[in-house]
Amino acid sequence: MPEPLETKKEKVSLVERFFILWDRIGILLAFIVVCILFGILTPVFFNPLNILNVIRQVSIIGVIAVGMTFVILLGGIDLSVGSVVAFTGIIAAGFQVKWGGSLFLSIVIPLLIGGGIGFLNGFISTKGGLHPFIVTLGTMSIFRGATLLVAKGRPISGMSRSFRFIGAGMIGPIPFPVILFLGSVIIAAIILRRTVFGRYIYAIGGNEEAALLSGIRVDRYKISAFTILGFLSALSGLILTSRLNSGELVAGEGYELDVIASVVIGGTSMMGGEGGVYGTLIGALLIGVISNGLNLLGVQPYWQMIVRGSIIILAVLMDKMKRRFRTA
């Protein structure tokens, strides 16, 4: 953990102050400003129904982004998450509709498969000494193909009422996917902040060489992070399949971009070792809010893409500036 600049004796310039502040609450501030802006432009925005609506929409990407935070904190990346969503979704739909309709199997098997794919990603990239970008590029294609293979080119539709609870159910006024999402955020935050496992993840991401020399079994932590991500991608696949009432072949296509964007906008460094899951929560919400707000205003989606892209670059730029001032 870097020393806070305030403890230094020299005078801190205004620009530096700004970046210190930005490091702490910048993204939250940006999020609040965007929300207020949309609130003024379209009063419906702050309607409680709409707020729940946005968080529910975000939860599908957000659950994956929580897992991706672990992987990116370790300096890794995973492009296969969208394919895992589709594959586990179609397996869940298969168990619901074609292979006996057991609720238990249609939840447990996809989650195990998701975790298994994550394990595979981690195992191949660490033990094989390959960059995870390449490995997961491979598994991304493999499991998109496997999805088509299992589904034989058609969506599988018609889930049972109990299965539909995962994506469409409510506990009191709160949609169940929101509970799953916020639950995974809290659990991940506890793991990262309060456990040895979490501390080692930051240590490895910050300086892998040093971590190795001090006897941390780096490979194990990396494989675990990928496994967590695979598991959460499968959870997202279950939520999506349940919400759509259908295992879709194009499900999850392009999700990797939104997921990585959420993590990066949330302030987790692509270099690893810095950031956290609360940032990811805000990052995911910011992306969701922009899409929702522009939809409410009836803006064509071309603009949504342009806005989102700009925010990603801005966020990374801020991250870079922050570092420069810290090392200066």
């Binding site: 088509l148 080119g153 969506p155 919400r243 759509l244 259908s246 939809n295 989606p301």
Partner: protein, 322 residues
């Protein structure tokens, strides 16, 4: 006894081999089928229809390859087909222009090509034996007319708010369907159209519809430029608790089995049928006829007229409820 069985099997095997090669000697054809992606159920039906027709005619091997919705991939697939020496190609081009070089290569190799569903740019310097397709503009018009009629029935006059979920920006069917739809709707100034793309996808259809439900107090009708989007929109309407799906007029496009099921249950009001099976088998027949009998088709373009499928004429749909 055992020996007799073995001999018997052998005899049958040899006989069938002879018969098989006899058919081969007659005129064995190899036909390549290249289409955008298996991820859309529509193309899965098309592929099935072609294979069925091939078995029905006999003596034809179909090499069917999907291109993962990637133009470069489709071009290389066609190049590979040329090297493999196929006799003819049935092509669903991903894009109007980008696939032209591949068709040029087919022309050069003297392999006839018939396009199905989507066409090549009209003034492209290539030779296409025939195009069999759907009239997407007309399909859009019919969807609009259906909604107008329903609105008149509801209010006594053509008025109300209609949501239009458009397809992937830039895709041919998305442009054509929307053009036809709006051509009709423009004639009714009291009907407000609110359009947004949902990329032909169910998840996007649901998400965009959720946002429309928040922003638009009164929604009378929803048109999805394909069934996937309208199915997503219906999920959103059902989950909203604000709108009754039986009250909202909903129209899809493609007549997928799932949509037909919802029409039967009166959740969905209508879908537009473009008869992919009929398109595919017509195109296939034309190609085989040309290869075997050198018979040129009478028309260079054959458009199959779309139909509005509602609960009253469900039986006219090509696919049936699963």
């Amino acid at each position: 006894m055992k020996k007799l069985g073995v001999v018997g099997t052998l005899v049958i095997l040899v006989a069938s081999l002879c018969l098989g090669s006899l058919a081969l000697a007659q005129e064995q054809l190899t036909i390549g089928l290249s289409f955008p992606s298996l991820s859309f159920a529509w193309f899965a039906f098309l592929e099935e229809a072609v294979k069925e027709k091939a078995t029905q005619i006999g003596g034809i091997e179909v090499i069917s390859l999907e291109a993962e919705d990637n133009v470069a991939k489709q071009i290389s697939i066609i190049e590979d087909m040329i090297i493999r020496g196929v006799d003819g190609v049935l092509l669903v081009p991903i894009e109007v222009e980008a696939v032209v070089p591949a068709v040029e290569a087919l022309n050069k190799a003297n392999i006839p090509v018939v396009t199905v569903d989507r066409r090549i740019k009209e003034d492209a310097p290539v030779e296409v034996l025939c195009h069999v397709g759907a009239d997407n503009v007309e399909g859009g018009r019919r969807a609009a007319k259906f909604i107008v009629d329903e609105l008149i029935e509801k209010y006594g006059e053509p008025k109300g708010t209609v949501i239009e979920l458009t397809g992937t920006p830039g895709a041919g069917p998305a442009i054509d369907r929307s053009a036809g739809f709006n051509e009709i709707m423009e004639q009714y100034p009291d009907i407000t159209i609110k359009a947004q793309t949902a990329n032909f996808r169910r998840d996007d259809g649901m998400k965009v519809m959720e946002d429309f439900i928040m922003s638009t107090p009164q929604i009378d009708a929803v048109f999805g430029a394909n069934d996937e989007m309208i199915l997503g929109a219906i999920q959103a309407i059902e989950a909203s608790g604000k709108l009754d799906v039986k009250e909202v007029i909903t129209v899809g496009f493609d007549a997928l089995p799932e949509a037909l099921q919802l029409i039967e249950e009166e959740t969905l009001d209508a879908t537009i049928e473009q008869f992919p099976g009929r398109q595919a088998s017509t195109a296939f027949e034309i190609l085989v006829k040309y290869l075997r009998e050198k018979a040129e088709p009478e028309n260079k373009v054959i458009l199959i007229e779309p139909a509005v499928i509602t609960k009253d004429n469900l039986h006219e749909a090509e696919k049936s409820i699963q």
